[in-house]
Symmetry: C2
Subunit: 214 residues, 2 copies
DNA sequence: GTCTATACGCGGATAGAC
DNA sequence: GTCTATCCGCGTATAGAC
């Protein structure tokens, strides 16, 4: 199971092409601006001004704004990849899922003003849906979460769980909560949601492991 | 509490100023285009072209694009208001919550390609956060969902539940599922998530009380 | 009350010089 | 790699026609 993926020393990104110095400057500036003004509210001019160059100079590095958005999003996604690497090092499937859940919640809370703003944008979602590297990461995530189950129940469950975590951290209802409280409650509820079993056997510890229904 | 709002014949909206004929045409066109191209990807020109007028004619009805987005969003939110009206007619609190949950899930699935695309947009969320009528609706929703509970657990729970439902319906994992299946699974899991109780004897003080002001 | 004509500034995008 | 110059579409804005 333990597939080792090569990570760059900077830890900035893993699969896509390594960034040049100029590109790194652009992506970092973009990440800060996206978090503050949203993706649509950030212009190439703002990015250029922040670095101290002209709009066309930025344009020379990335031929379109979408490419910048994609590069910035991939930098965030790379963090998820790292979390999965760590989780996958655990010994059995239950431990892997537990470590993964904790890692995801930690990540979501830690970057509740950054990642969610970027990855939550519908334009970004559209872009990432067509990105091979990103799909690789999400596929891995869903496989780790649901195992080999392919039922509609498993799909909906995984969709709800990821949507709940990423959506809750930037939800208006919880803006007043500090990171520690949010993380604790989120992990607690997410864990129990993931452990929900089919309504048949209600909270009755089954003695034997149920046969894979598949 | 059960305020009866006058609904236009089309059932389009409830609390804000009633729309003129021209405004209704614009909002309807905007809703279709937003669902297809996203909010940021829809220009005033597209809206004007679809109705068969000039851009300036549209601008004459709504002085800014944000006003159009707001009007369109409110038309969607009005549906939620109707669902809450129906749920609140139930006899006791448990029944109200059950009817509400079913109504929310039905609504989310029915408009899985419309509502979520519009209300999920961060720009729209920002706009709605400053809209009095919208906050009234969401406050009512959260009160019906959580009762009078004001604990951080209740906040996180409500945030996760609403995020899970609205986020799951447009999640890549479930695009292949038909509406009936999605609705059934979603309702089932949402119901059980809402019924989760606080586990006993599991207290670990965070101790550090930091001012959560941001 | 609904629309047209026209214009301004900004944003993304491109070509070519240094 | 970075620049200037230029293009077109977009949101915004005003004045006025029916």
């Amino acid at each position: 199971m333990g597939r080792v993926t090569a990570l760059s020393a900077g830890g900035e990104q893993s699969r896509s092409a390594p960034l040049t110095a100029a590109q790194t400057r652009i992506v970092n500036a973009a990440l800060e601006l996206f978090a503050r003004h949203g993706v649509g509210g950030t212009s190439l001019q703002m990015i250029a001004d922040r670095i101290g160059v002209t709009k066309a100079a930025v344009y020379h590095q990335y031929r379109t704004k979408d490419e910048i958005v994609l590069a910035a999003a991939e930098a965030e996604v790379a963090r998820l990849d790292t979390v999965m690497d760590a989780a996958e090092a655990e010994s059995n499937r239950a431990r892997v899922r537990a470590a993964l859940l904790r890692g995801i919640v930690d990540l979501a809370v830690e970057r509740r003003r950054t990642t969610s703003t970027i990855l939550g944008d519908p334009v970004v979602a559209q872009l990432l849906a067509h990105d091979a590297g990103f799909r690789q990461v999400t596929d891995r995530l869903y496989r780790l979460l649901m195992g080999d189950e392919a039922s509609s129940d498993a799909y909906v469950r995984a969709a709800m769980l990821t949507a709940a975590i990423s959506g809750a951290v930037m939800h208006p209802l919880v803006v007043g909560l500090d990171d520690d409280t949010l993380r604790e409650q989120l992990l607690n509820l997410a864990r129990r949601f993931l452990e929900l079993r089919e309504p048949r056997a209600r909270r009755k510890r089954p003695a034997t492991r149920r046969a894979a229904k598949r």
